[in-house]
Amino acid sequence: MAMLRRLEMPGWGRALVSLAGLLLVWQAVVLASGIPAEYLPGVPTIFHALRAELGDGEFWRGEGLTMARAGGGLLLAIITGIGTALLSARHRMIERALSPLVQLLISLPPAALVPLSIFAFGLGVALFAFIIWFACVWTIYLSAVNALKAGEPIQVQVARTFGYGGWAILLRVRLPAALPEIFTGIRIAAAISLMAAVAAEMLAGRDGLGFMLYDAAFSLRIPEMFALLAVAGLDGVLLNAAILRLRRAAAGWHDGIALMARA
């Protein structure tokens, strides 16, 4: 057992094997399915298309727009969502007042708001900001409220003994304790933000990754479509990695304690 474990590959090695396996399966499906290469291009063709995209300024403009929209809307949702969650944690009345509204709005598909939002905001920055903010904010708010409520009663009592007031306890004891779980909510919201950005660009856009994907599919530039799809997936990986890095900076101490507790 011990020897086998030593022979096992590190995480990045397994990821590489996994990626190679994915590409192999793709290529095998292409060869075995008999679908013409114009419709289901092989790995080399898609790589070629991806290289062409990466050398194209137009692509980088669209990619930048999509990431800026997703990131901007997400940031807005984080600020407002956590701000409101702090108020809700401080005054239970606010939490109860908001809860039916949040339950109703969280079950609404963000894409469904695009048509009416176009009337309200036009096709500019405000449209994307609103749609992406709306898609993310309820998830962040709910996870933050739940995390803030779940705080250790002992910690709060200790703080009270030290003479901390309600707001001080909230900001200096309960908020730090809730940060790891709040970040879980933010990670889920980050994936949603990218999806909302792509959906809004498909429905309303004249630019951005979503529009480029749609455009490539409609003009039957199939290898380019698959290349853009790979980029969309990669964007998701990057966004997730960025949030994880932020989490380590803000709540890394928590992981250390959790490791110690397990040992």
Binding site: R14, L98, P100, A111, A112, V114, V198, M202, L203, G236
Partner: protein, 260 residues
């Protein structure tokens, strides 16, 4: 919603909601323009279009249900399998991590290319969106099964398949159900969105038509319908979850009671 929370009726919530709706009505009356219809107008439309809305919503729900059912049937066994076969799972999992971040709606163009704009294309996009929450939770849940339970299973001579079915599945059920809940929510969201992009029928198409005809009140009626129906579906799923996991919650309550 359990009985205790029904008893403690949420007055602040209801009052706040009513105040918002009243503010909407008053603001719309004050502005008096067709681009900002009043609540009463929207409700009248909701009643007048009731039959059409119900028919379109049924189509949307049917697709969501089909995509979700396929995802459940495929991903639950796969998740339990990957979770149980540790060594293999550690090579498959990075591939899942690579596929997962792809936004479900980004594969709409691919679905369109291979399956046109009909139900098959939409259902495959819904399948994709519901697949990952179910799969990931099933893997995690199976992996977290207490080793003691497995040893017991092995020592009474259960086969590997029997262990997966009779020990892993029930032990993992609580977390699997939270994957199912997320999967249902995703299926509903993506069902409407896919109908907007591949617009043939269903609620998504209803919204798109309202936009094309500049019928804002109709659009709002559609949005209200979607929100209320999704709310109901999610509540039903939570109910089923509580029913299925009654033994789990009961045991937790006992443990908690013993600790206090």
């Amino acid at each position: 919603m359990d009985r205790a929370s029904l008893k403690a009726f949420n007055w602040p919530g209801v009052i706040f909601m009513a105040a918002l709706l009243l503010a909407w009505e008053l603001a719309a009356r004050a502005m008096n323009t067709p681009s900002f219809p009043s609540l009463v107008t929207v409700l009248q439309l909701l009643a007048g279009d009731g039959r059409i809305l119900a028919a379109q919503m049924t189509i949307t729900l049917g697709r969501a249900a089909a995509g979700f059912a396929l995802a459940l049937a495929a991903m639950l066994p796969l998740g339990v399998f990957i979770g149980r076969t540790h060594r293999l799972g550690r090579y498959i999992e990075p591939a899942i991590d690579l596929l997962r971040p792809l936004p479900p709606l980004a594969i709409v163009p691919v679905a369109m290319l291979f399956a046109g704009t009909g139900s098959a294309a939409k259902i495959s996009v819904i399948f994709y969106s519901a697949a990952f929450p179910i799969l990931l939770n099933a893997i995690d849940a199976t992996r977290a099964t207490h080793p003691l339970l497995l040893d017991v299973g092995r020592s009474i001579g259960l086969s590997r398949a029997a262990i997966m079915r009779r020990i892993d599945l029930p032990a993992a059920l609580p977390q699997i159900m939270s994957g199912v809940r997320l999967g249902v929510a995703a299926a509903l969201l993506v069902s409407v969105s896919a109908e907007m992009l591949l617009s043939t029928d269903g609620m998504g198409n209803y919204l798109m038509r309202a936009q094309e005809e500049f019928q804002i009140a109709r659009g709002l009626a559609g949005i209200l319908t979607i929100a209320l129906v999704s709310l109901a579906v999610n509540a039903i799923v939570s109910r089923i979850e509580q029913r299925l996991l009654a033994w789990h919650h009961a045991r937790h309550a006992v443990v908690r009671g013993a600790l206090e």
